[in-house]
């Protein structure tokens, strides 16, 4: 994984973007706790960039194994499909963790120099969660695809849908339906869209659920309780385990056909 040129470029990009954003945003303004444009742009950067790279690189990795016949070769070794999938997942995880760690280390160093750059611990946690969830989805995209190009296209579609298209669809629906319907659909979407789930996690764990407005007060109140935290953890784990299990099932099925 780490060997590819792609990865090195991604690492460079990440370090650069993280460092500049945190520097530019913080120098001009006082340090304030709460949901501000800075925290919002940091969160959006995380949600835009990380899934994009994880999905494309991860899915193409698997697809190329399948396309080049490497996977068929592997099957002659005493290795199960599950082991292969989990191995791929962990490799993807570790490479992105390393990149993130590098970016965080640079930000930390810059913080030391100027005392201006901040990286709240919550963002570190959310980045890790993003890597965990989207790596699993990337694996699924890879096994679903027929070729590397197909994998690339598929992962781009998944990325666009979860970050942009679903929200736009919901906003469009919101112009015609009643407020309480929009509110219910939004709650459903939060659970069905991993990007929204992570964004919701930010508000939940930073204690800023009031940003989401009064219509979501009872919903966020539930998730701020112990039961809610447990449910949040369960849904998060499901978002990791289900795609991988599905990927395994797909591969096994395909293995029988070949």
């Amino acid at each position: 994984m780490l060997r590819s040129r792609w990865m090195q470029l991604v690492a460079l990009l990440f370090v650069f973007v993280f460092a500049t954003i945190s520097l530019i945003q913080q120098i001009a303004l006082p340090d304030v706790n709460g949901f501000t444009r800075q925290t919002a742009s940091f969160l959006n950067l995380l949600l835009f960039l990380l899934p994009l790279f994880i999905l494309t690189i991860g899915s193409m990795g698997i697809a190329s194994d399948l396309e080049s016949g490497w996977f068929s070769l592997l099957k002659t070794y005493p290795i199960t499909v599950a082991q292969y999938i989990w191995g791929k997942y962990i490799a993807l995880l570790l490479s992105f963790m390393l990149i993130l760690l590098l970016a965080f280390a640079v930000v930390l160093g810059m913080n030391g120099i100027s005392g201006q750059v901040h990286l709240p611990i919550l963002f570190v946690g959310l980045s890790i969660m993003t890597v965990l969830i989207f790596s699993a989805i990337a694996i699924l995209c890879g096994t679903f695809a027929k070729s590397r190009l197909h994998a690339l296209a598929l992962s781009l579609v998944v990325w666009a849908v979860s970050l942009l298209l679903l929200s736009y669809a919901l906003m469009a629906i919101g112009t015609v339906v009643a407020g309480h319907v929009l509110q219910k659909l939004t709650i459903i979407m939060i659970h069905l869209n991993p990007a929204e789930w992570i964004r919701f996690g930010y508000f939940l764990f930073s204690g800023q659920t009031s940003v989401l407005g009064p219509s979501f007060h009872h919903f966020t109140e539930f998730y701020s309780s112990t039961m809610g935290y447990v449910l949040y953890a369960i849904v998060t784990i499901l978002w990791i385990v289900l795609p991988i299990l599905l990927a395994k099932w797909l591969l096994v099925k395909r293995g029988r056909q070949v």
Partner: protein, 427 residues
């Protein structure tokens, strides 16, 4: 064993003798009744547990530990039909209502301390009032179950200065008052810090409001001046720095709004102006509903807000403000940008109409939408357009720079370690 018995007997005896001892000293009501008209009553360090009524002119001065308690629903002090009453230096605690004044003139309350009260002071039909250096701390619980810190009804000529109010419903509730000036007050953790209703000639300057639902709630009032106030962290559900509703001739200037949910929400204002305010890092800086061209929004600084301006489609006079996201240039170097600034955002407008849209605030999809809006909005001429955006902000945000050695070492150490590990992996 014997000792314990003696101790218990001692306790019982002392409990018996206590009320007798108190009965010897006079009650506060007796003291008040004995004081001549316009006299001064100096109180010792005593705890009075009663409800008193004042119906004449006098001055009551407490000492350091003069405490008044009232365990019932009646006010601790009630003032009726009095010409001139001054109360100073007393602690009122565990009372439902601290002081009630009715149909009186020249009431002066200074250096009073209200602890654990449902409501501090309530005044009805009074004139020439001074409320100065009061400390009011309300009961615990939701603001819906609390009373107002200070409540003033149908009165005139009121000065409210340098008070410290927290944990009440409305810090100062003002209804149908003519001439009121509020300055240097600190009000926090309440519903509305100041709540003006049907008030004429009100003035609020140099106050600090923090963590209330709304800093200044001004409704159906006329001729108000709100200036040099600092409004921080009004950022809970439905929160705002100022909500100005259905009022006339309201001037809002030189205030600082920082980290509020909506800094100013203005609805149905006439002939009002908002000038030279600083909007720093609010979720929405200004919301204009049912506005008109007579309302001026000039020379404000919009810095670090998520949404600068939004409206329900009605117009206002917006000019010469500074916006940190203005992308134009100033070729003739007159300090005014050459291109108009358009604050119109489709998302901002939706939010006004349907509260459930709030969920999407600054979400990835909305950020992209705003970028597209900026392209399509270049031709917008009427709605939320500032034709003369300023190039420079009037304020300078100070930022301190601290160098932390361990972070530098740890940060760059980690970078080197990771790069070394990476190289090793590749080879």
């Amino acid at each position: 064993m014997k000792r314990i018995w003696i101790f218990i007997i001692f306790l019982i005896v002392s409990m018996w003798s206590m009320p007798q001892g108190q009965a010897k000293t006079k009650t506060l009501q007796q003291l008040i009744d004995q004081t001549p008209e316009n006299g001064i009553l100096q109180l010792p360090d005593t705890i009075y547990k009663e409800n008193v009524v004042i119906r004449k002119s006098l001055t009551i001065k407490g000492s350091k530990h003069t405490i008044l308690q009232s365990a019932n629903q009646k006010p601790a002090i009630k003032i009726e039909n009095a010409e001139q009453v001054t109360v100073e230096n007393i602690t009122v605690q565990n009372a439902h209502i601290g002081i009630v004044g009715k149909k009186s003139q020249h009431l002066h309350f200074k250096h009073l301390h209200f602890k654990n009260v449902w409501s501090g002071i309530q005044l009805y039909n009074t004139q020439d009032i001074t409320l100065k250096h009061l400390e009011i701390a309300g009961i615990h619980g939701h603001y819906a179950d609390k009373g107002n810190g200070l409540a003033i009804y149908n009165s005139a000529n009121v000065t409210v200065q340098e008070n410290n109010i927290q944990n009440v419903q409305d810090g100062v509730y003002i209804e149908a008052v003519n001439q009121i000036s509020l300055s240097k007050n600190k009000i926090q953790n309440g519903r509305y810090a100041l709540h003006f209703m049907y008030t004429k000639n009100g003035q609020a300057t140099d106050n600090t409001f923090q963590k209330n639902v709304t800093g200044i709630m001004l409704m159906m009032s006329e001729n108000a001046k709100l200036s040099h106030n600092r409004l921080f962290e009004q950022n809970g559900l439905n929160a705002s720095g100022m909500t100005l509703f259905q009022s006339k001739n309201i001037n809002v200037f030189n205030n600082l709004f920082q980290n509020n949910r909506t800094a100013i929400s203005a609805q149905n204002l006439t002939n009002s102006s908002m000038k030279k305010n600083t909007f720093l890092m609010n979720q929405s800086a200004m919301e204009l509903i049912r506005s008109n061209e007579q309302n001026k929004i000039n020379k404000n600084d919009f810095i670090g807000n998520i949404v600068n301006l939004r409206s329900d489609g009605s117009g206002s006079d917006i000019a010469q403000n500074y916006y940190d996201d203005y992308a134009g240039i100033d070729v003739d170097d007159n300090g005014i940008g050459d291109r108009s600034y358009v604050a119109l955002q489709s998302f901002g407008q939706w939010m006004v109409r349907q509260p459930a849209y709030q969920y999407f605030i600054e979400s990835p999809s909305v950020v992209l939408l705003n970028m597209m809006d900026r392209q399509t909005n270049a031709i917008e001429k009427k709605q939320l357009v500032d034709k003369e955006p300023m190039m420079r902000s009037a304020i300078i945000v100070e930022s301190k720079s601290v160098r932390t050695v361990w972070k530098i070492i740890l940060g760059f150490g980690m970078v080197l370690a990771i790069l070394w590990f990476w190289r090793k992996e590749i080879q």
